[in-house]
Amino acid sequence: MKLDRVLAISRKNLRSLRRDRRTFAFIFMVPFMMMLVFGYTFGGEVQDIKICVVNLDEGSTTGSYSWSIIDELNSTDALKIVTIYTAADASTDPVSLVHDQVERAEIWAAVVFEKNFTQDAKANMFKLAHGQSFEPSNFTLYLDGTNPNVAAAVSGSLQKALQTVLGDISPIKMPVGMTTEKVYGEDTEFIDFFAPGIMGLAGLLVTFMLTIVTFVRERSSSTLERLLTTPATEGEIVTGYAISFGILALAQSAVILVTGVLLFNIQIEGSFLIALLVIFLLGVGSMGMGLLFSSIAKNELQAVQFIPLVFIPSILLAGIFWPLEAVPEMLRPISYFIPLTYAVDGARSVMIRGWGIDQIWVQVAILILFAIAMLLLSTYMLKRRK
């Protein structure tokens, strides 16, 4: 081995990179971005889970446990109490009001303290101190169990608050008990939660990468140039791509769903077809995005670099593995700009909550807009090539 020749080859590679400034910039930008996003995302905990409280507790002469628990809940970062209803709001039937809010996924959970909560708890504590048996004083948690992370955070925060308020008095046996009623996701396991996320991720990445690779090849082999000299318009070419890759995204989703159902017994509460429609729309949009990026790239190398640029934020910020509530607040706005966020949320609502199109129309509308915008932009970029 001759060092001169080895160095000549190394020099050649570095020189050609120097002329390709975009690639050069990417080489430094991608690891920086990866570290930034991974660091912030893994460093963060679930935050700001929206809940409501209904406090019908009349307390006792010496105070109210329910208010102490609410104060504790208020002091945690994990939960964000949106509204507290009291007995004064009784005319509006606050219990069914918050139940409906959980049902519409406006909040993740609702805690209801009954009228005699404090009194019963105190009586129980007396019985406990004197070795008498008792029935724990109850309060109810209405929980959307779609997302196991969120559900665990809500239950955990409540247990911690109970322990803080009542634990000193009776650290071994609690004078109160929590009844949990899961509005959604009675038997939801992590696999049920992941499956829609994996479907979305596969739909996004495979169509995006396939489009980039195929389209860069179309350009480098001049077949694109040739297509553009035929009666096929730019719009027809883009639509042709959209249909073929949309079908691939559908086939992929079907494979994931069938595997999930057969091997892991995942739940599909709602319509299989609506879940597929969501992924199809995402696939079409991702194809458009792939076309757009490949038309910005000057060569294969530049095109391939767009993959982590799309992959990393999607995998970390779109709510696939952990809820948006666990995404650090400063990064959360990015989550709302990632189409995968809506696809995963839509598919999850269909599969776990059993929702129909009328309940996920916002997600579907956003995905349709994304697909249309990407198709129009990529058609425009193709026209601009001339």
Binding site: S222, L227, T229, K386
Partner: protein, 251 residues
Amino acid sequence: MGKDIADVESGDFAVSTDKLRKEFGDLVAVNDLDLRVRKGVLYGMIGPNGSGKTTTIKVLMGLQRPTAGSGSILGERVPVRRNIAMIGYMPQEMAIYSDLSVHENLELFAELYSVSKEDFAKREGELLEMIDLSQRKNSAVSQLSGGMKHRVSLACTLVHDPEVLFLDEPTVGVDPELRAGFWDYFSKLKTNGKTIVMTTHYMDEAVRCDVVGMMRNGRLIAEGTPEELMRRTSAKNLEDAFLAYSREGGA
């Protein structure tokens, strides 16, 4: 006595450019080119690499926007839309799908040009015979030799029976026997009234063109029938004629 340009130039123009100019930064690739190609004529563009032949064709095909001037094909200003199905273009590169078979490539282009299934079935047989690949109809293009791929590319250009053909170096990499076959086919096309504009580096091919345009630095430095060009420069062959015109700096 050979033919003069006046003998072949009669009738309407199939292709024309008017002060066509294409610049890439400081480089002037096509320099105020005035080109006239009459219908039914086989027009050969010759000139060294970088003389503007391919760029002229790309501008005419609507693949690049002219910096100034204009061009028209069959009376329609470029970029052509209305007459696009009457034009065939074979780029210098293979520009066919290597993971599709010969038949699938031909079928794709036939569909893009809305050729009916019956016409395609007839046309495919004829074209496969011309390119001598009837036996390899179902082979993937990636399994073919370079020359064979080139032949498939030509067949894709001809599948919709275009009126005007732009062929950018159509015979590169094709063996002599098959080149002769190609030229027989070009003659047949011309007899059927088709117009062909081609670029070539082979002078023995340029001699077979009705009209030859010699290009240098984006300009047309000479134009005429091969005989005329050779006679004017007292050259024995087109290559010498081209060198003579190059030395003159245009005629």
